[in-house]
Amino acid sequence: MRLLGLYNYWIVVGLMMIGFYTMISRGNLVKKLIGLTVFQTSAMILYISVGKVRGGTAPILLDRADVLYSNPLPSVLILTAIVVGVATLAVGLALVVRIHEAYGTIEEDDIHVQDDAP
């Protein structure tokens, strides 16, 4: 029962692994970045899940006193993490653009072929 109560986490783990798998199994450079984004985003859900209080509400204080609030700290951390994610994505995509200009392809296999050729 306790394990079932962690359903949120289980699915998050699954999502992370989908992202991770996309990232490391695909040869397309853009697809890898998409996988990375999924991976990171899912890790964010993990944080937010930690901060959730059942029956609580968002930590924007109300005038009433008897309100249960969820934890604001994971939100703060994840705001930062989202920015990190998009920053990584931007740099990664810029790299992909340049790689495409230099190699004419964004498939890892083709790039390897070109690199191995003298």
Partner: protein, 182 residues
């Protein structure tokens, strides 16, 4: 009720993730990623992280999508289908996933108010931040004051990304017009 929404959204997220893994058209993948972000944002809302939801929607579904599409405009939209399936990534994923599952089994129960995370630092924020800063949005006050330095780091991160992108992509055109030293 919230649980039901929560679970449905998570299920939709899972479906979208699998779809993402299976499509080979990159524009489709980008659209699915936008959907994924929207779903995440909805999920964040149900998990009481509205600020995060706000940002995720704006960044994940907005900026990321536009950037992805902008890239796809330059690099082509089709992904080559893999010729063979390698075992190594699958093994890595299974191992990582198994480790996570193993570890998460002992994590404090989801949503319980007496979890360490809810007991240790956060209560101080909830109780004292408004008095200290005069701001009812605790997320904002923690973000900009208690952990303001993290936020400076965050702004630096995107600044770094901008520097990186400009280093990589700036064409030199239209950059000579500015004042010499800003």
């Amino acid at each position: 009720m919230e649980t039901a929404i929560d679970v449905t959204l998570l299920a939709l997220l899972g479906l979208t993730g699998i779809a993402l893994l299976r499509v080979y058209n990159l524009v489709t993948a980008a659209m699915l990623l936008a959907i994924y972000s929207l779903l995440c944002a909805s999920l964040f809302t149900t998990l009481d992280a509205v600020d995060v939801a706000f940002t995720e929607a704006a960044v994940g579904a907005g900026v990321s999508t536009v950037l992805l599409l902008g890239t796809l405009a330059l690099v082509g939209r089709e992904e080559k289908r893999p010729l063979k399936r390698q075992a190594l990534p699958l093994i890595m994923v299974v191992v990582t996933g198994a480790a996570l599952v193993y570890g998460i089994a002992d994590i404090p129960p989801f949503g319980a108010p007496d979890n360490p995370a809810q007991q240790h630092v956060a209560p101080v924020y909830l109780q004292e931040s408004e008095a200290a800063t005069g701001i009812p949005n605790v997320v904002t006050s923690v973000l900009t004051s208690y952990r303001g330095y993290d936020t400076l780091g965050e702004v630096t991160v995107i600044f770094t990304a901008a520097v990186g992108v400009l280093l990589l992509l700036a064409t030199g055109r239209g950059r000579g017009r500015g004042p010499d030293d800003g």
